[in-house]
């Protein structure tokens, strides 16, 4: 059946058709929908793991156990999962194992722009890269066959444009793959040094065989248009190049991006006047070409930063484009903001008023860094808020401890904040940590997590008791506040900062976008009472603006949270 599938949905379809039975992932834009879509198939056991390392290990265990398994993550998630991934390269598989990783060129929703192909090289793993949804499905299925054929986990690299674009996939039926027998084999599966040394030899030999396959496989193909110019491309860039350059050049399209073929590239370049390598981010293909003695034009012409497009390729290659029109007016930017009724707003307003150093983390609340709240000093990676606060406090001493906090969401705390909090308790750090518990994984679009009491399929399960967990690891000072209650929030903050012990504040209120959250009617401003003092503007609510010197609330956006009501000195909002 022909369906218009998102790249992520097409990967999920590939998992289904390939007979996969175990999927474990942690959500991360742009990879999240792979696992959400896979969870719609009853034949696949699917779960949200607390983090990517756990997910990769679950998939690894399932593969050792004889099932076809998958774990999905965003590029930075692969940093977290790297430890098991590198050693699974030595162990190999029983049932096939595929690791899906989605890079984010252009950083639509990420803190860096790292190129996951480097991981495939470093971990010595086969990596495939599709260029549309049909290839997402096809390569996912093929990846399992390759995994079992070469006895290796296989990586599938997506980018934002592939993961989040829809194109046509002709779906077919699932083929059930029986569980492979499990036979105890310590030399294969227990990576003691004595067992690992011969395995490394095997990995190197495997790469040679994989490269031989890459020379002849149909995923690496040439389109000969009789031109004297050739371009070497992979993934989304292939489609941009096809649109920009049409049949004016010859193409070598690489579906296998690690290991790269040698003779295939030499043969393609042979007799051409010029060969361009067009690749987003790092110069992986280009470096390989130079290494094998093929002269190419690459990063001297094309940027290392940002996302490519047909326009960029056309301009760099000197192809003329149509002009466009624009308005000669400065158009204000529209950055993302916390939603109306967002529970984080009250908390960040309290932090701003307190003027504290805020060690931030990854989630919707990173938007607390933006004007007018501007209440964040640093943000590194998942879970770093707590440990980086600890380091900041150790560097700057007792006075700093009274003026510094960490903020971390419930899902991020489960991901990798717990170990950092243990560090604070264990090493007697007088630090204040605020867990923003909005009962969901918010930024990636509402995924369940170990604190919500529901599985990925919506079934009830145990929920982590955050208060009890904090106490169990040695934090005695644990407060719970409602961030809509500004007075209570500020009081809790003051108490925690002055306490002579490590403190945790759990700022608890569900995300305002959750379907289960009932909204109150929109608030209005009594213009007779409003004096235009702009006190209500300080919280950065997108529903509040000033018109003719008075505050105005947009009824289409306001959800009646009432945080602004408390701020109004004239009680004009109600």
């Amino acid at each position: 059946m022909k369906e218009l599938l998102q790249g992520n949905e097409a990967v999920a379809r590939g998992l289904y058709e390939a007979g996969v039975t175990v999927v474990s992932s942690y959500p991360g834009t742009p990879s999240t929908e792979i696992t959400e879509a896979a969870a719609m198939y009853d034949e696949i056991y699917c779960e949200w793991a607390p983090n990517e390392k756990v997910a990769a290990e679950v998939a690894a265990g399932a593969a050792i156990g004889g099932a076809r398994s998958f774990c999905g993550m965003k590029h930075v998630g692969l940093n977290v999962a790297a430890d098991p991934v590198f050693t699974m390269s030595y162990i190999g598989v029983n049932g096939g194992m595929v690791i899906g990783v989605a890079d984010d060129p252009g950083m639509h929703s990420s803190q860096n722009e790292q190129d996951s192909r480097n991981y495939a090289i470093a971990a010595k793993l086969l990596m495939l890269e599709p260029s549309d949804s049909a290839e997402c499905r096809d390569m996912t299925k093929l990846a399992f066959e390759l995994s079992e054929q070469f006895d290796t986990p296989v990586m599938l690299r997506l980018s934002t444009r592939i993961a989040h674009s829809r194109s046509i996939v002709d779906t077919v039926d699932r083929v059930d793959v029986p569980l492979r027998p499990y036979v105890k084999n310590a030399a294969k599966n227990v990576m003691l040094p004595a067992f690992a040394r011969p395995k490394h030899e095997m990995v190197e030999a495997r790469t040679v065989k994989e490269r031989e396959w890459a020379e002849i496989c149909a995923l690496n193909f040439v389109e000969d248009n009789g031109s004297a110019t050739g371009v070497i491309v992979a993934g989304s860039v292939y489609k941009y190049a096809k649109e920009a350059l049409g049949d004016t050049v010859n193409y070598l399209k690489l579906g296998v991006v690690n290991p790269l073929p040698v003779e295939k590239i030499r043969n393609f370049a042979n007799g051409l006047d010029k060969v361009y390598v067009i690749e987003e981010l790092d110069d992986i293909l280009e470096t390989h070409c130079r290494k094998i003695g093929v002269e190419v034009i690459g990063k001297d012409l094309f940027p290392r930063c940002g996302e490519f497009s047909q326009k960029l390729i056309a301009e760099k290659m000197g192809v003329a484009r149509d002009e466009s029109v624009s308005i000669e007016e400065s158009i204000p930017v529209r950055p993302p903001v916390m939603c109306c009724g967002c529970p984080h707003r009250g908390l960040f307003y309290a932090l701003k008023r307190e003027g504290v150093y805020v060690s931030g983390d990854i989630g919707c609340y990173t938007l607390g860094a933006s004007a007018p709240l501007g209440a964040m000093d640093a943000c590194i990676c998942m879970g770093a808020s707590i440990s980086a606060l600890h380091g900041y406090n150790k560097a700057r001493g007792a006075e700093a401890e009274k003026k510094a906090v960490a903020v971390i969401g419930d899902s991020t705390f489960m991901h990798s904040g717990v170990t950092s909090l243990i560090d604070i308790a264990y090493n007697r750090s007088n630090s204040t940590v605020i867990i923003l518990d909005n009962s969901i994984t918010g930024m990636t679009g509402h995924q369940q997590n170990p604190t919500t009491g529901l599985t990925i399929k919506g079934d009830p399960t145990s929920a982590v008791d955050l208060e009890a967990l904090c106490r169990a690891i040695g934090i005695q000072d644990v407060q719970v506040v409602d961030p809509y209650d500004l007075k209570a929030t500020r009081a809790a903050l003051k108490a925690a900062l002055t306490a002579e012990c490590p403190s945790v504040i759990i700022s608890r209120r569900p995300c305002a976008l959750l379907k289960t959250v009932k909204h109150k009617p929109a608030l209005t401003v009594d213009t007779d009472k409003c004096i235009g003092c702009k006190a209500c503007m300080g919280i950065g609510c997108p529903a509040i603006s000033m018109k003719d010197g008075k505050a105005v609330i947009d009824a289409t956006q306001c959800v009646g949270c009432g945080v602004c009501t408390d701020l109004c000195p004239k009680k004009a909002i109600g």
């Binding site: 326009k311 466009s324 308005i327 529209r334 993302p336 916390m338 007018p372 997108p542």
Partner: protein, 188 residues
């Protein structure tokens, strides 16, 4: 090949609009690509989705000077993405104004008379108050379907295909309201 760019403010329902349009073109027998936006930029930021169809579509994205139709859910976004329109392209825009944060904080000013300025550029323009029409249909949340209707009237595709696509993409209990919203937009 035809290219439609749908722009708006995160939360306005541009994703649904792009999915309905993609579905219609799939059912009409074309090769189709739709590019969506997820994650951080969805949170009240400027959002863009692309829909392209034809005998063969390569790139899923639309660059400057390539859109046949620019469908804007908010007028500032119409102005922002005007450079993406082809010279003889069509702009369909909601007249609704949503202040971005720099305007709210006073760091920037919302430009005045944007619709007039768009008209001065010589583009073919349809401006409609989709919010009022959505309320007339029964819910302000149907703004996106009103705008789909307005865009549909500028594309040469039978109305029945649109209704069918809406039936496939919206929950049954909101179907009648959404059909009304589509009609109001289509005839606006």
């Amino acid at each position: 090949m035809k290219s439609v760019m749908i722009v708006g403010v995160g939360g306005q329902g541009t994703l649904l609009a792009s999915r309905v349009l993609g579905r219609v073109m799939l059912d009409a027998g074309y090769d189709v690509k739709v590019s969506e936006v997820h994650g951080m930029s969805q949170r009240g930021g400027s959002v863009v989705t692309y829909v392209r169809w034809g005998d063969k579509v390569e790139s899923p994205v639309i660059n400057e000077g390539e859109a046949d139709v620019l469908l804007a859910f908010e007028q500032l976004e119409a102005a922002r993405f005007l450079p993406y329109l082809k010279k003889d392209g069509v702009v369909v825009t909601n007249t609704q104004q949503i202040d971005p944060m720099p305007v709210i904080t006073g760091a920037a000013v919302y430009p005045e008379k944007l619709i007039e300025k768009l008209e001065e550029k010589g583009v073919r323009l349809t401006a409609l108050d989709a919010l009022s029409l959505a309320k007339e249909a029964g819910s302000q949340k149907a703004v996106n379907v009103v705008l789909i209707g307005a865009m549909a009237s500028s594309l040469d595709i039978p109305e029945a295909l649109w209704i069918e696509a809406i039936e496939k993409t919206v929950p049954p209990k909101f179907l009648e309201m959404n059909k009304r919203a589509f009609e109001l937009g289509f005839h606006a």
